[in-house]
Amino acid sequence: MTLLTLAGVSRWYGNVVAVNDVTFEVGPGITGLLGPNGAGKTTLLHMMAGFLAPSAGDVRLDETPTWRHPDVYRRIGFVPEREAVYSFLTARQFVLASARLSGVADPHAAADRAIDMVELRDAANRAIGGYSKGMRQRAKVAAALVHDPPMLILDEPFNGMDPRQRLQMMDLLRAMAAEGRTILFSSHILEEVERLSDRVLVVVAGRLAASGDFRRIRRLMTDRPHSFTLRSSDDRRLARALLAVPEVESVELRDGVLTLRTGDYGALTRAVAPAAQEADVSLLELRPADESLESVFSYLVRR
């Protein structure tokens, strides 16, 4: 199991603090690093990947510090955000060179496998300089996973990909995570992170604003009411009954949709069914209305 650990990590450039006292662990599975542009995501990723020295604190891959230890790249595959590639090489040459430089035993077989994984076989013998942004991105991913690393770090991997390529890349990352790999990717697009990862690290202004399962994070935000939508055999009657429940802050019935708000997620979920039963109403559905990553994120960024 590969574990990346950050302990009290800060990074500053002169007087500007880019990353401020960040502590977390990333283990197997997919973790999304989320934050607005300029929040410090790339600085954080570069420190994790050993391309940037932390001004304070410690970044380790298992026991090894990532900074100034090139040997960690036997266990890390890194996909940079920058588009620059060796444009004079074909994708096959690029991936093959990557395999050789990583010391892979059978570089040709590894390159073929990596190219197939990103579905680039048909274009593999064309110079990367003529590739679209999405194809270039896939060539970079193939080069990063050619040595079969247990950890993959990707900086904005979906940039420039069309929807089909996005889905394909998501499937690839899911498959790799299912094999027990540790995958960390950064994105400023909520939908990508929400679809791909249960665990998120939310970075806002250089600080780690939240980490973990974003649905759980949402539930922990007790200072902001949770919304639920309900469907029942008689919404109007159920609304009256729910108003009597102390945990309910407000009930709204608009356009045929019954919405209620509460400050106590757990107590409410326990109270709704008995209230419906008492009112002799069949409860058909109780759904959290704002458990999306977007609601978590906008809340954290605004705070």
């Binding site: 410090g40 391309f51 890194f78 620059a84 060796y86 060179a97 050789r100 010391g103």
Partner: protein, 242 residues
């Protein structure tokens, strides 16, 4: 691993239009020597002219110009465009990266400079190889010192090409001409001293003793390599978006 690194470096260097233009510049010295032969000079005149051509154009212009362009690009172009990340993200010892890049830059520079100088020597003297060989060998050794310095410079500043050219033109061209003491730290003077010693009587008299030139040249080369390794080990990559 070494072969892959060397071939990537060489392909990147050859892919630059500048490098190819330098090949043409090398051809120029041979053309000048050939035009000189058309005047049917005496053997004494041939030696004197060819010696000056090889020293004043070959070692003083062609060598530093090729070395500064190749030397600063060997690692510097990857640092500039960000492709260095693909090397840094590999389990490659940083001294190995510097060593391979330096050897490739050196050999390419030597090829682009020493070969035309050798040929110009043979053409200019009407078929004798001694002068061309002496200046060619001095150019090849001078190329090592120059490329080591310029490669290190590319790891110190992103304006390595401009600063390198300024060093060649201002320091070696002007300052070293005015103040004899400064010639000790002029790569051109090291190469000239070596060429003079190797060429014997046919060479253009140098300002620096060959022993001193070799010693200082070796110290400068080793210092540049050590500096380059230290700088590459500490290279930090910064994001575009933070």
């Amino acid at each position: 691993m070494i072969r892959t690194l060397a071939s990537l470096t060489l392909r990147a260097l050859l892919n630059r239009r500048r490098t190819l233009l330098l090949g043409l510049l090398g051809g120029l010295i041979v053309v000048v020597a050939a035009i000189f032969r058309l005047s049917d000079p005496s053997s004494e005149e041939s030696m004197r002219f060819t010696g000056r051509l090889l020293a004043n154009f070959g070692l003083a212009v062609l060598l530093p110009l090729v070395a500064v362009i190749v030397g600063t690009a060997a690692l510097g172009s990857e640092l500039d465009d960000g492709t260095i990340v693909y090397l840094l993200a590999k389990p490659l010892p940083r001294p190995l990266i510097v060593a391979v890049k330096l050897v490739v830059a050196w050999l390419l520079t030597a090829l682009l400079v020493a070969v035309p100088i050798g040929l110009a020597g043979i053409v200019g003297t009407g078929g004798t190889a001694d002068l061309g060989l002496a200046y060619g060998a001095a150019a090849a050794l001078g190329a090592l010192e120059y490329t080591a310095v310029f490669l290190a410079l590319s790891l110190v500043t992103s304006r390595a090409l401009v600063i390198g050219l300024a060093y060649v033109v201002v320091w070696e061209g002007v300052v070293a001409g005015l103040f004899a003491g400064t010639r000790v730290v002029s790569v051109r003077q090291h190469a000239l001293a070596l060429a003079d010693a190797l060429a014997g009587e046919g060479g253009v008299p140098a300002e620096l003793a060959v022993e001193m030139a070799v010693l200082i040249g070796a110290v400068v080369t080793v210092t540049a390599v050590v500096l380059a390794i230290r700088r590459l080990s500490a290279v930090e990559l910064r994001g575009e978006t933070g």
